[in-house]
């Protein structure tokens, strides 16, 4: 966190000054470790073992926050008799189809009450796996029955609590030592610390970043942490939570108003070409009727009204038919394969540099070279725009400039200080920034680009029916300045939404399903309440309460901690004076507290939903997780995940270690590309004996386009280097400051050597496992004052099946002393590795 989020890390320093104990779990000793109370070196790719053992520790010793667990989680829910665990099936959950390598999740559901929960089985399994459904379900996940049969004594063998106990029983401190390389005494210190620091009086927070997500079991890493935090009662409470640190400014914003293929603004699912013929079809299948997702018709219709205005009417399904449709996986890596196969002809690359920043760079560049046209918008001439004249494949002879027909359009972009708008950070906080100066030359903001691109396209439209969606689109923003910039404030107001009177709405609860309201993103509704840009508020923290509600604006409804109903006990009283946050004021008949309650303000704690109630009315006064169809925190996920209702430890796709837990070495549902452009290192291969992990340095940003051209940053970390332990250096003859060659079956690169005791060999399954660390900020061009080989070229194309993130944090490699071979010789070396 200190490495990649130094500004946010000031609050960890602050917490530590107030007595917080900080553990840092990381393969390497980093700048974060330097300020932590304890650093636990771990083998990359083994975190589910560590987290699972913590869960086992909590369950075996009954250290869970029982009142919280009983009231607020699905611990008591009974699961279908048909469910089989990985413990029963040697690493598989029930419902696995080996042919398609996907799960049918119907057996994972809660015990039937005789009625079928809507959408529960229809949208899982194959459909899910085909279209990356996890994000598609939105933050509420898939629908499950709102009130499954329960055993409040938690003794029923098929209740979630007992299933959890059995599932995690083999995740022991001994296993942690064997697979993670963390000694039992260190594990005990961590386990004692987090359990002692949880409960009524105290809370523990987990902070993670892509070290947890970029794995073939990435989503399940986070799930494991979620189970632990729910068991310890650390969700929805101050000082608790699982905090995701994002990789760029406003990455949160770019999932809220998505740049992802599978969701619409506000986490509404992107409709599918064949399964969602019309609006009713779509609404029926996507999500449950209970909880706040039960209002999704209002959210979607208001979105359609924002986009198609007057043209969207009840009679024409509010232009639902104008929305683009999915036909399957249109994620990043599958798109690249489509480019190589010639089915994807054009490509917009905006503020991204896949030729350097994405896994398997060679495949990326093969795809780029096979396009008809490519549009690159960036601050500098990044490698993605220049691969055709200076890419590594020209050196090896695999590509020749004269053979590449791709027409490349490079459009220079304005930087963040040259445009106005909002950033949404990881805590859902929208912060408005002013334009400090005009962009130079032809540089323009993305907002300018898309607005004018849309305007020019619309000028070319005919009366043809195929043009109707674009023709009817609302595209009328006030223009400002000599370059006719569309007003960002007007866009934010459109996102906020307006009511029938044309005035800005103040809350998403005002949205209606009848087309009388328009709203560009339902979770952002309220950011422009009262015609005021609340994101632009800058009242200093010292002038307001510690929650600081008047600094910027957080979605939803300016709530700073989600699900904060859980900060009070079932009766609505704070769990403790020390941790009081939001509570029920019986006298006034409303929820109150330091934050905006993430709950219906006047719903009393003793509210019991009447039979047949829908949406939020179907949730009880004790159900804090209001986006879930049952209002509970899910320890066990009865639907919505592509690779199992519980996390299980699988080895990374490439690992030098055998999985001792199950017969299944790796996640059986992981997405692999069995094709020539995507070779893999065989598991356990003696050719690739070392664990490779990649990361960032404080001094640079991602693929380097924003830092390598800047002298003051480039001089701080001028060259690509690999971090190796003194032991590995001695074994291989690597010299500090010298050169090393790193090899995977994808490519061979060179890096300077940094020998450091901050990387430590680990004892795994009785033998020494060496880890090699590589930052990934260098490329051959990009306007860089410093250049270097591309680390990401080493990485395999293998993905998590839920969200299609690549596994870049734990792969295998070989290391050799000295510089890499040049040209054709590099390919010859690879051939040796692939066929030996």
């Amino acid at each position: 966190m200190a490495e990649c989020h130094p500004v946010g890390f000031q609050w960890v320093v602050e917490a530590r000054a107030r007595g917080a104990k900080v553990f840092h779990v990381d393969p390497r000793f980093t700048r974060t470790s330097a300020l932590a109370d304890r650093h636990l070196p771990i083998r990359a790719g083994s975190d589910i073992v560590l987290l699972g053992a913590l869960i086992n520790h909590v369950l075996a010793n009954e250290l869970d926050f029982r009142e919280y667990v009983l009231a607020y989680t699905n611990a008591a829910a009974l699961v279908s008799e048909d469910f089989r665990d990985t413990e029963d099936l040697d690493g598989l959950f029930s419902g696995f189809d080996p042919e398609t390598r996907t799960y049918d999740p119907s057996s994972w559901s809660y015990e039937s009450t005789g009625e079928q929960a809507p959408g529960e089985t229809l949208e899982g399994g194959l459909h899910h796996a085909k279209a990356a459904g996890a994000d598609r379900y939105g933050s509420g996940g898939a629908a499950a029955h709102p009130s499954p049969p329960k055993d409040p004594t938690l003794r029923h063998p098929r209740c979630v609590y007992q299933i959890l106990r059995r599932h995690f029983a083999r995740y022991t401190p001994e296993l942690v030592e064997r697979l993670c390389g963390i000694p039992p005494e260190d594990f005990a210190e961590l386990a004692d610390a987090i359990t002692a620091n949880s409960g009524r009086e105290r809370t523990t927070a987990w902070v993670y970043s892509v070290g947890w997500t970029q794995h073939t079991v990435g989503a399940q890493y986070i799930r494991t942490a979620a189970i632990l935090q729910l068991l310890l009662g650390n969700m929805g409470r101050p000082g608790g939570g699982i905090l995701a640190l994002r990789g760029h400014a406003s990455i949160q914003g770019s999932t809220d108003i998505p740049t992802l293929f599978n969701i619409l603004p506000g986490y509404l699912a992107m409709p599918h070409a064949h399964r969602h013929e019309n609006l009713d079809d779509y609404l029926e299948r996507e999500g449950g009727e209970t909880g706040f997702w039960g209002n999704r018709r209002s959210y979607l219709v208001s979105l359609l009204k924002a986009w198609w205005g007057e043209a969207a009417t009840e009679e024409n399904d509010f232009c639902f038919g104008h929305l683009p449709r999915l036909t399957g996986d249109h994620g990043h890596y599958t798109t690249v394969m489509g480019q190589i196969d010639g089915t994807v002809k054009g490509y917009f690359v905006v503020g991204e540099n896949p030729a350097v920043g994405s896994s398997g760079g060679r495949a990326q560049r093969l795809g780029l070279a096979n396009l008809d046209w490519l549009v690159v918008r960036d601050l500098t001439l990044v490698e993605t725009a220049t691969f055709w004249k200076d890419g590594p494949e020209l050196e090896t002879g695999e590509m020749r400039t004269e053979d590449i027909a791709t027409e490349v359009f490079f459009l220079p972009a304005a930087s963040h200080v040259e445009k106005e708008g909002t950033f949404t950070n990881t805590q859902r906080l929208l912060q408005w920034r002013e334009k400090a100066l005009d962009p130079v030359g032809d540089c323009r903001s993305d907002l300018w680009f898309y607005y004018h691109l849309g305007r020019l396209l619309r000028e070319r439209l005919t009366g043809d029916e195929i043009d109707r969606p674009l023709r009817e689109l609302t595209w009328d923003y006030p223009e400002e300045g000599e370059h006719r910039d569309p007003s960002a404030a007007a866009v934010l107001r459109e996102i906020n939404g307006v009511g029938p009177d044309g005035r800005a709405l103040s809350s998403s609860t005002q949205l209606r399903p009848d087309g009388s309201t328009a709203c560009g993103c339902w979770i952002y509704c309220g950011v422009y309440a009262g015609e005021v840009n609340h994101a632009a508020r800058r009242r200093p923290g010292r002038e307001q309460t510690p929650v600081a509600p008047e600094w910027g604006w957080a979605w939803p409804a300016n709530r700073r901690i989600l699900y904060n109903r859980a900060s009070a006990d079932p009766e609505g009283r704070p769990w403790s004076e020390r941790k009081a946050y939001v509570w029920w004021d019986a006298e006034r008949g409303e929820w109150t507290g330091h934050d905006v309650p993430d709950f219906e303000r006047n719903k009393p704690p003793d509210y019991v939903p009447p039979e047949g109630a829908r949406a939020e009315a179907a949730l009880a006064g004790t159900d804090p997780f209001i986006m879930q169809s049952d209002g509970k925190g899910w320890l066990y996920v009865p639907a919505g995940l592509a690779d199992g209702p519980l996390p299980a430890h699988y080895e990374p796709h490439e690992s030098p270690v055998r999985n001792p837990l199950y017969g299944r070495q790796s996640n059986p549902a992981r997405r692999i590309y069995a094709r020539r452009e995507s070779p893999y290192n065989p598991p356990g291969s003696p050719r690739f004996p070392y664990v490779l992990t990649t990361y960032r340095l404080t001094e640079h940003h991602t693929a380097g386009a924003m830092s390598r051209p800047l002298a003051y940053l480039a001089e701080l970390q001028p060259e690509l280097f690999c971090e190796v332990s003194p032991e590995l250096a001695a074994e291989l003859g690597l010299v500090n400051g010298g050169w090393a060659t790193i090899v995977t079956s994808r490519t061979v690169i060179e890096a300077r050597v940094l020998v450091t005791g901050r990387v430590r060999p680990l004892r795994i399954q009785g033998r020494t496992v060496h880890q090699v660390g590589l930052p990934y900020h260098w490329g051959w061009g990009g306007g860089g004052l410093v250049t270097g080989d591309v680390t990401n070229d080493l990485l395999p194309l293998v993905l998590d099946p839920n969200v299609y993130i690549q596994e870049s944090k734990a792969v295998t490699c070989d290391v050799r002393p000295g510089r890499r071979p040049r040209g054709r010789a590099a390919l010859d070396l690879l051939e040796v590795y692939r066929h030996d």
């Binding site: 200190a2 130094p6 500004v7 890390f9 000031q10 320093v13 000054a17 000793f29 700048r31 974060t32 470790s33 330097a34 300020l35 650093h39 070196p41 000694p183 340095l697 404080t698 001094e699 002298a711 003051y712 940053l713 480039a714 001089e715 701080l716 970390q717 001028p718 060259e719 280097f721 332990s725 003194p726 032991e727 500090n736 400051g737 300077r752 050597v753 940094l754 020998v755 450091t756 005791g757 901050r758 430590r760 060999p761 004892r763 020494t768 004052l785 410093v786």
Partner: protein, 271 residues
């Protein structure tokens, strides 16, 4: 003079982000130091110099770490980071030796080189007991931290302190900083971190106390700081006295020599 201003650099919360180095260079428009991989932990700018007025040192401390079986392994268990800067000494030798008056004491009690007056004689370079001030190649003049004199005159804190995310670099009235540092030290000692110590805060040290002082977690030498810095001009008065006496002796000796040969010369010169 207004209140004496200073830096308190608390290295116990430094995360080595180098924001201070970058902010300093940005504000003061300093040239880069070249792009050289030094293979010394995460430090590639080396030391303070004419173009690096804040420098973050990275010290990896290896101790034997427990490990199973025969693996008598070693690993880093402490990574010290410290942002070094000109000390703005109470008794500043650089200022003492400057023949042009380019170096001067500001109204904030800091020591600043005036770039339009410096003639590049370089006397200040060996005079600094910390090796801070340096001449820039190709330019010839001496350069060092000004504690952002221009910003201070505009009522702003120096760029490095402004950019520091963890408040490792604190700027303020020196008296106040010294109190704050004492409190912090006490707190660390109470937490059992007895290795913590202050460096350069005492007015009784060899430079009369630094205007930029530090909280360190190890011996100063570990960070590349002199353990007992002394203003190099401390002995100048006595040296002048000695020189004067010597000159007199020589004169006497010469007189004697004239009177009775050259026998007395050596005695006079041996002081």
């Amino acid at each position: 003079m207004t209140e004496r201003m200073g830096f308190f650099t608390d290295t116990s919360v430094c995360i080595g982000c180098k924001a201070c180095e970058v902010a300093c260079k940005e504000w003061n428009q300093l040239p880069d130091d070249g792009f050289v991989f030094e293979a010394t932990s995460y430090d590639n700018t080396g030391q303070l110099g004419a173009s690096t007025w804040r420098h973050v040192a990275f010290i990896e401390q290896t101790r034997t770490v427990r490990m199973k079986e025969d693996e008598g392994d070693s690993g880093v268990d402490r990574w010290l980071m410290s942002s070094d800067v000109c000390k703005h000494c109470t008794h500043a030798a650089c200022l003492d030796v400057c023949p042009t008056g380019a170096l001067f004491r500001t109204e904030f009690g800091t020591v600043v080189v005036q770039e339009d007056i410096c003639n590049g004689c370089g006397y200040c370079v060996p005079a600094c007991p910390f090796g801070v001030i340096d001449r820039r190649e190709g330019d010839g003049r001496a350069w060092k931290c000004t504690m952002c004199y221009d910003r201070q005159r505009g009522g702003l804190e120096p760029a490095c302190a402004k950019a520091c995310p963890t408040d490792s670099i604190q700027f303020g009235p020196l008296d106040e900083l010294r109190e704050r540092a004492e409190d912090r030290l006490e707190r660390l000692h109470a937490d059992g971190r007895s290795e913590a110590r202050l460096y350069g805060e005492s007015p009784d040290d060899g430079v009369g106390g630094a205007g930029a002082f530090f909280l360190l977690l190890d011996e100063p030498e570990v960070y590349g700081l002199p353990p007992d810095p002394v203003v190099t001009t401390r002995d100048l008065p006595s040296m002048w006295r000695w020189a004067g006496a010597a000159a007199l002796s020589v004169a006497g000796a010469v007189a004697v020599a004239f009177a009775g040969g050259f026998a007395g010369f050596r005695d006079g010169g041996r002081r």
